[in-house]
């Protein structure tokens, strides 16, 4: 995932001074922002180089006997394990199902691996597994294989879950982050920041009272409905870690285009706005687990928007911006004041471990 800004690229051309050595992993490397992108670019991509991986989408799409198979994997380390609107079990289904759905795939099968810390409550494990089972049933996917490991007390943090998902991509569907073109519209399926704030409100030391629920949900049905309307959807992403800003920055970078958002069109719940105001956070960087961003050809944008809004998960959908050819690789935002500012990728870690 290359996330260089033009300014940084200039730096490499004009100045040979190396950046300070990075010798340890920091929490920010897992934030989904710039440090994560650097880690992927510097360590993982060179090691596993291949054309499928190089697409850097949320899922890999491979050809097997004429079928296009989508594969994805995701690890869940959310803390706390239980939060308003879900728990690590339901999240482990939704997260992986959504990564398949963003490639247009119909999710079919999941694996589930549990890394459990010695001393973990059996009752809590049951609740998590039950919720995972229920979420899978609702999404119409089967958990067909799994693994269990127990680590010594103090060597884990209660419970980590990894899920891998497999699905099939229907013919004629081709969604990828490098397909955005100037003039395309940016669609967002609903309010932002709900998941991150719901989690944050539960954190030790930060408890505040709120009615905000995580938006954690499986989006593949919504995606199928959107693709039923048109195939003029270029790309879809679910703005999880790093929020809407990081997702759009990735798309801008991969497609070598600029994206301009309209600040007044961003759907943000009043309570999320209030919590962000209080905690000094920007909702554009806060995680979502049941929202998608679609880049759609301008002529199809309205029809797709209507399709999203017909689904209960997309009732608050909006067109939030337009793809342009100015400032390739940069996301900007038009403020209500008529001025423009950059919407940067998250540099460090805004909220650690939210998914």
């Amino acid at each position: 995932m290359s996330t260089k800004t033009p300014a940084e690229i200039n730096f490499e051309l004009s100045c040979p001074t190396p950046l300070p050595a990075k010798d340890t992993i920091l929490l920010g490397h897992g934030s989904g922002g710039k440090l994560s992108a650097e880690l992927i670019r510097d360590i993982f991509l060179p090691a596993f180089q291949n054309p499928v991986l190089a697409r850097l989408d949320d899922q890999a799409i491979v050809n097997v006997n004429g079928q296009r198979l989508a594969i994805t994997t995701d690890s869940f380390v959310v803390k706390p394990l239980f939060f308003p609107g879900g728990n690590i079990g339901s999240l482990a289904v939704h997260g992986t199902v959504n990564d398949l759905a963003m490639g247009g795939a119909t999710p079919l099968f999941l694996s589930a691996a549990f890394i459990i810390e010695e001393g973990f409550s059996m009752d809590e494990l049951r609740r998590v597994v039950n919720s995972l089972r229920q979420a899978a049933a609702e999404a119409g996917v089967q958990v067909v294989t799994g693994d269990t490991k127990v680590v010594e007390k103090g060597k884990g943090d209660g419970l980590f879950i990894n899920t891998t998902g497999i699905g099939l991509v229907p013919e004629g569907v081709d969604l990828s982050a490098d397909r955005a073109r100037p003039g395309d519209k940016v669609l967002l399926s609903g309010s932002i920041g709900d998941h991150g704030i719901a989690i944050l409100a539960q954190r030790e030391g930060l408890e505040f009272e709120t009615q905000i629920q995580s938006d954690s949900a499986a989006l593949h049905t919504l995606v199928a409905e959107m693709l039923g309307v048109t195939r003029e959807i270029r790309c879809m992403r679910d703005p999880t870690r790093g929020g809407v800003s990081s997702t759009l920055n990735e798309i801008a970078e991969r497609s070598r285009v600029g994206i301009e958002l309209e600040e007044s069109s961003l759907p943000i719940h009043e309570e999320v706005r209030g919590a962000c105001e209080l905690l000094g956070l920007d909702p554009l960087y806060v995680a979502n687990e049941g929202k998608l961003i679609a880049i759609v050809a301008p002529e199809a944008a309205h029809a797709v928007l209507q399709a999203i809004r017909r689904n209960p998960l997309g009732a608050e959908a909006r067109i939030i911006g337009t793809v342009n050819k100015e400032n390739p690789g940069l996301v900007t935002m038009r403020t209500p004041f008529g001025t423009t500012r950059i919407v940067d990728m998250l540099a460090g870690d805004q909220l650690p471990r939210i998914c």
Binding site: C15, T24, L26, G28, L279, T335, F337, R341
Partner: protein, 365 residues
């Protein structure tokens, strides 16, 4: 949101901007003291709404930016003690010390925790009696009362495992230092609304009188800033120098008396070093003698540290309003929020970070 949306209303903002344009007959250099105000200016592009002649320069009011390098180094050294839990406001974690930062210390195994309130640190101390909890108490008059409250509470409870590494700074002495420095360009100040919520407007009267400089206490939303600029321009154009309060919904003349009392009970005024600027007499707070047992610099043997800033960083000039972040050759090149050379690139309130986050595109063109 009440008290927020109306201060972000673009119609009101544009009307104020139009009035400023109409009123301005010559160039004026104004300084907003607080980093929160700088952030708003960059985020909403307030400077783009102003007439060309009005120059906004950014003041030293970013608490993270002016915390001395030595304090950061001491905090890192403390955090690496195995028995210590270091509690800090989140922004301090990424501030580079001379060799490391608190995030890196955390990655090395240090127990570093983020709190939104210093009383959280007291709570942590209470529930971890076998550990030593150190709170990194930094900031302006805004955070001082809550930090004082933490020490007061710890003393009342007789906690023996709680202490604070204090680096507190005060605004009025900094304005005075700017005014007496030979190269000052500032003709009017927007004083920091939150600091004044605690301390009141009264502290700024002598500055207005001594230097015949207009000061307007201002808020943090776009409409607040534009209104404060309008009030300053109106005074300057009329040849006046008065203390005015734009942020009346929060600031009174006397300020918050109970907050001032707890500050006075726990802290005393002392000379203070400001990162990038140097020592300013009587510009900081330290714990009083009665609170020595809660002073981390006395509880722990930290030795004297003196360290030099990276030579390339021009934060000194930036924090004094002499240069804009974009005047720095390292800006956006060798100095970015991921690899900051100096503190103003780190904090969300830092002037360099505000320019980098919101304006890079305009600079590159």
């Amino acid at each position: 949101m009440k008290y927020l949306d109306e201060y972000r209303d673009h119609r009101i903002a544009r009307a104020l901007a139009a009035e400023i344009v109409q009123l301005t007959t010559r160039p004026w250099v104004l300084m907003e003291i607080c980093g929160g105000q700088t952030h708003t200016i960059m985020r909403y592009g307030i400077d783009e709404l102003l007439p060309r002649g009005i120059e906004l320069v950014h003041g030293p009011g970013c608490p993270v930016c002016v915390t001395p390098l030595e304090t950061v180094d001491k905090a890192i050294a403390l955090a690496l003690h195995p028995e210590v839990i270091l509690v800090s406001y989140g922004d301090m974690l990424r501030v580079p010390g001379s060799h490391s930062d608190l995030f890196r210390a955390k990655a090395q195994g240090a127990d570093v925790r983020i709190a939104y309130s210093p009383t959280e640190a007291v709570k942590i101390a209470r529930s971890n009696p076998d550990r030593k909890v150190v709170f990194l108490a930094i900031g302006f008059e805004t955070t001082a009362p809550a930090n004082a409250m933490a020490a007061w509470q710890a003393r009342r409870e007789g906690l023996t495992n709680f202490s604070m590494l204090v680096s507190h700074v005060l605004v009025p002495p900094a304005i005075r230092a700017l005014m007496v420095s030979g190269n000052n360009r500032v003709q009017g100040f927007i004083a920091p609304g939150h600091v004044c919520t605690v301390m009141g407007c009264k502290e700024y009267e002598s500055l207005v009188r001594d230097f015949r400089v207009p000061i307007v206490v201002g808020g943090f939303e776009p409409v607040d800033i534009l209104e404060a600029v309008l009030m300053l321009v109106r005074q300057l154009e009329a040849g006046e120098a008065k203390l005015e309060n734009q942020y009346v919904r929060s600031v009174s003349y006397q300020g918050n008396i109970s907050a001032q009392q707890i500050m006075a009970e726990v802290f005393e005024v002392a000379d203070q070093k400001w990162r990038g600027i140097g020592l300013i007499p009587q510009s900081g707070l330290r714990l009083r003698e009665e609170y020595a047992a809660f002073d981390a610099s006395r509880v722990f043997d930290l030795g004297e540290m003196t360290v030099d800033e990276p030579a390339e960083c021009i934060s000194a000039q930036v924090l004094q309003g002499l240069k804009k972040p974009t005047d720095c050759p390292a800006f956006g090149m060798r100095c970015t929020p991921e690899n900051p050379l100096g503190a103003p690139m780190v904090s969300t309130e830092g002037a360099c970070a505000a320019y980098y986050h919101y304006r890079r595109h305009a600079v590159a063109k």
